[in-house]
Symmetry: C2
Subunit: 402 residues, 2 copies
C-alpha cells in the first residue's frame, strides 16, 4: 500500500521547494552546508511537536507560537549554533532570521518558522546569516541539500519519501531528519521535517503527528538526554488534489499509518547513525495490559545502559532485560514473562530455559538485535529502538580538552 | 561532634559480631569470601529500605517481611548469586539459608534476614551453603571480613564507623557497604548494613533511615539502572546504655544527622569505586523552591551521560548542565540560573560569562569535580554524587562473549 520512493526527499511531495547554502556557522569542509529553507509554494496546513525540556531555544519558542497561530509557509533552519541560553538576544535573532528568510522567499515574516541546532550558549552570528540568506536557491530537487544542511555530527543525510493511494489519488510524504550524535562542542538535537501534498485539516494533522511521534521519535533512545531544540514539523499543502482528510474521514487512518511509517523510518535511521553505535536494538514488548505499559517497558529496556552494553558485547545476559523491565514500574507478573533474543527463546515464565549460547551470540552479532518480551497479561504491544553503548561513544562525547 | 573511628567497621558498635567464609559461590582467588553473618548479641531494633524494582529477589521479599515483623537479630549475606528470577525455588532457598545461619548463630530462624548479590537467573548452590555455614566464626573484630564477603566487582572494602556524644553517653555507628560495579555475569547490587549501639525506638529508626537514605544512597548514580536486590539495613541494639531515642526526644536530630553522615560516607565511597570511574562528581543545587526540586535537579545533572562524559574529558561544556537541569522538569527561571564548576563562576543569570578555560580544565582534572547550580528562586539545597563515564565502563560491562 505504502510505496517507498527511490531517492525520495523532503521535496518529493508536490508543491514543496527547498535549498541550502554555506554561511560559515560550521567549520568548512567539502560540501559543508549550514543554512537552509523548506517552503510550500502554496498555503499549507502545519503541525509541530517540540522539546519538553524546561530550557528551550528561542527558535523553539517562536516556532511553537507560529504553529499555534496556524498561518505558515515554511521553515528556515541552521546548524552549528543552537541559539539557546543567550538571553533576550536569542528571540531577537530568531525573529530576524525568520524575517530574512521570509523576505527572500517572498512570504510574510510571520509565515516562516525557525529551527536551530548546534552549540548552546553562543549567539547566532547574524552578520553571516544576513549576508548568506539570499544565496539560498530553492527548487523542487533541493531536498537532499536541505537534509545535508541540518546535519551536525550526523555521518549521512537522513531522508525518505513514500507514496500511497488515498481516495483514488496518489499522495506523497517526504521527510528529512537530523539525529542524535554529539561531538564537542555540539549538543544533540533531533530535528525532523515532513512535507506532504495531501490536504489535511490542521487539528487532525496535529493529532496525527502526535500519534506518529509517540510511536517513532518518542520510542528511540541514544543516551537518555533530551535537547533544548528538538522539533518535528509537518506541512500538508494539498497539492495532490485529494479530498481534505480530517478526523473521521475514510482516509484518516490510512494517512496516520503513512505518517507513522515515515516517522518510524526516519527515527530508526537516526538510531543507526547514533554516535559510536554499531548495532540497532529493537525491543518489542507484547501482551501488556495497556499501550502505555508496553511503551514504557520497551523504552526502559532500549535505554538501559546495561542492556546497551551487553548488546555491544553480544552477551545474552537476560537478567539485565528483566531488571530494566522491573525498573519500568509497570504492572507485571514476573512468573508470566517470556524473553526472546532475536527470536531465540531464552526465558519462559520468568525462568531461564536451556539455550544454545553460541547461537544467541551469533544472532547478536548482526547489525540489528531484537529483544522480544511477552508479558502475557494483556493485548497491547509496542516497539522501541536504541543502539549499543560503545567505547567510541565515550571517546566522542568526552572530547578531551587536554 | 561526630568523630571518625580509625579502622572502623560494621562491628565497631558494642554488642555486634560478624564473620565470613568462602563457600565457593564466587571464583576463588586469594582471600575470597562469599558468605557472611552480622549478628547482634542482644535483642535489637531493625529498619530497612529495599529495591523498588518490580522484579525483586526472594531474599528481598523475605527480609522485607521480617523487618516489618520487627523481631530480628542479624543478617546472612552471600555474594556471587542474586537468587533472583529463579521461580518459587528462590524463596525456599532464602528461607533455608536464613534457617542455617540462625541455627549456627543460636537464634530463632525468623530472626535472621537474608541478602544476596551476584548473577541473576541462577539458583543458589544450596549444597555449598549447607556445608559452609558452620565454618563462619563471628567475633567483634569480624567487621572487615564481613565487608569483604559482600563484594562482587568492588575493588576494595567499603566500611566506616563514627562515634558521638548523645545524652552524655558515647554511641557508635558502624557501617559496611558494597557498591555498584558490574562485570559479566554479575549485576550491580547496592547493599549496606549499619549497626549502632544506640537504643532507638523502631518506628523512629525506620523514619530516620528513610531520611538518611534519601540524602545518601538515593542521591548517587552510576548508570541509572536499579538492581533487583538493593537493600539497606540498620540495627540498633542499645548496648551503649544511652536513653531510648525516639521521635521528639532531645537527641533525635543528633542521631539522624549521624546516621545520614555515615550513609553519605558509604554512598560516596561506592561512587568512587564505581566501575571504570576516575572522578567523583558532586552536584550541589541551591536556591530551589523545594527540597524535592533541588534533589530532582541535582540527581538529573549527576546522572546525565553527557555530563558524565564531559567530566571524563575535562570539558567545561556547561550547556549540558543547563540541558540536564531543564530535562529534570522542575520549576525553573532560566534567566536566574548561575553555574559554577569547582567554584569557578561559568554562567550568570543564564548566560555564559568569560572565564579562563585553562583554569576550569585544571580544576576538572582533580579526582573530585564539583558543579554548583544556583536557581536563585528559593531556599532549598541538595547534593548528588555521580562518577564520570569512561571507556573502561563500556569495556567492563559489554564483556565480549566472542
Amino acid at each position: 500500500m505504502v510505496e517507498l520512493i527511490k531517492n525520495g526527499s523532503v521535496t518529493s511531495a508536490k508543491g514543496f521547494v527547498a535549498g541550502a547554502t554555506y554561511a560559515g556557522l560550521k567549520t568548512q569542509d567539502e560540501d559543508a552546508l549550514d543554512l537552509c529553507i523548506l517552503l510550500s509554494e502554496r498555503p499549507t496546513a502545519v503541525a509541530g511537536t517540540f522539546s519538553t525540556n524546561k530550557v528551550v531555544s528561542p527558535s523553539v519558542t517562536l516556532s511553537r507560537q507560529r504553529v499555534a497561530e496556524g498561518s505558515v509557509r515554511g521553515v528556515v533552519a541552521n546548524s552549528g549554533c543552537a541559539n539557546c541560553c543567550v538571553g533576550p538576544q536569542g528571540l531577537e535573532d530568531a525573529k530576524e532570521m525568520a524575517t530574512l528568510a521570509a523576505r527572500h522567499a517572498g512570504v510574510a515574516a510571520e509565515e516562516m518558522l525557525v529551527c536551530s541546532t548546534g552549540m548552546i550558549g553562543v549567539e547566532l552570528p547574524m552578520a553571516l546569516i544576513r549576508q548568506s540568506m539570499d544565496a539560498i536557491k530553492v527548487s523542487a530537487d533541493g531536498g537532499p541539500r536541505f537534509s545535508r544542511a541540518i546535519m551536525t555530527t550526523d555521518t549521512r543525510e537522513k531522508q525518505m519519501a513514500i507514496s500511497l493511494e488515498l481516495d483514488g489519488r496518489t499522495i506523497t510524504l517526504g521527510g528529512a531528519a537530523k539525529g542524535v550524535g554529539m561531538i564537542h562542542p555540539n549538543m544533540a538535537t533531533m530535528l525532523s521535517f515532513v512535507a506532504t501534498d495531501a490536504d489535511v485539516e490542521p487539528v487532525f494533522l496535529q493529532s496525527a503527528l502526535r500519534e506518529a511521534v509517540d510511536a517513532s521519535f518518542n520510542m528511540i533512545d541514544v543516551d537518555g538526554d533530551q535537547s533544548t531544540n528538538d522539533t518535528v514539523l509537518v506541512f500538508a499543502n494539498g497539492a495532490a488534489g485529494s479530498p481534505t482528510i480530517e478526523s473521521g474521514s475514510a482516509s484518516a487512518d490510512g494517512f496516520k499509518e503513512a505518517l507513522t511509517y515515515l516517522c518510524v523510518g526516519l527515527a530508526k535511521d537516526m538510531v543507526r547513525d547514533a554516535e559510536g553505535a554499531q548495532r540497532l536494538i529493537e525491543v518489542v514488548v507484547g501482551g501488556a495490559k495497556t499501550l502505555g505499559d508496553a511503551r514504557t517497558a520497551a523504552r526502559e529496556i532500549a535505554s538501559s545502559m546495561l542492556v546497551k552494553a551487553m548488546v555491544h558485547g553480544r552477551d545474552p545476559n537476560w537478567g539485565r532485560v528483566m531488571m530494566a523491565l522491573g525498573k519500568s514500574g509497570i504492572d507485571l507478573d514476573e512468573s508470566q514473562v517470556d524473553i526472546f533474543i532475536s527470536d531465540i527463546h531464552i526465558v519462559h515464565e520468568g525462568i531461564a530455559i536451556p539455550y544454545f549460547k553460541d547461537a544467541v551470540i551469533s544472532a547478536m552479532s548482526s547489525p540489528e538485535v531484537r529483544f522480544g518480551v511477552s508479558l502475557n497479561s494483556g493485548g497491547a504491544t509496542a516497539t522501541a529502538w536504541g543502539c549499543d553503548l560503545t567505547e567510541e561513544y565515550v571517546i566522542f562525547n568526552s572530547a578531551y580538552s587536554t
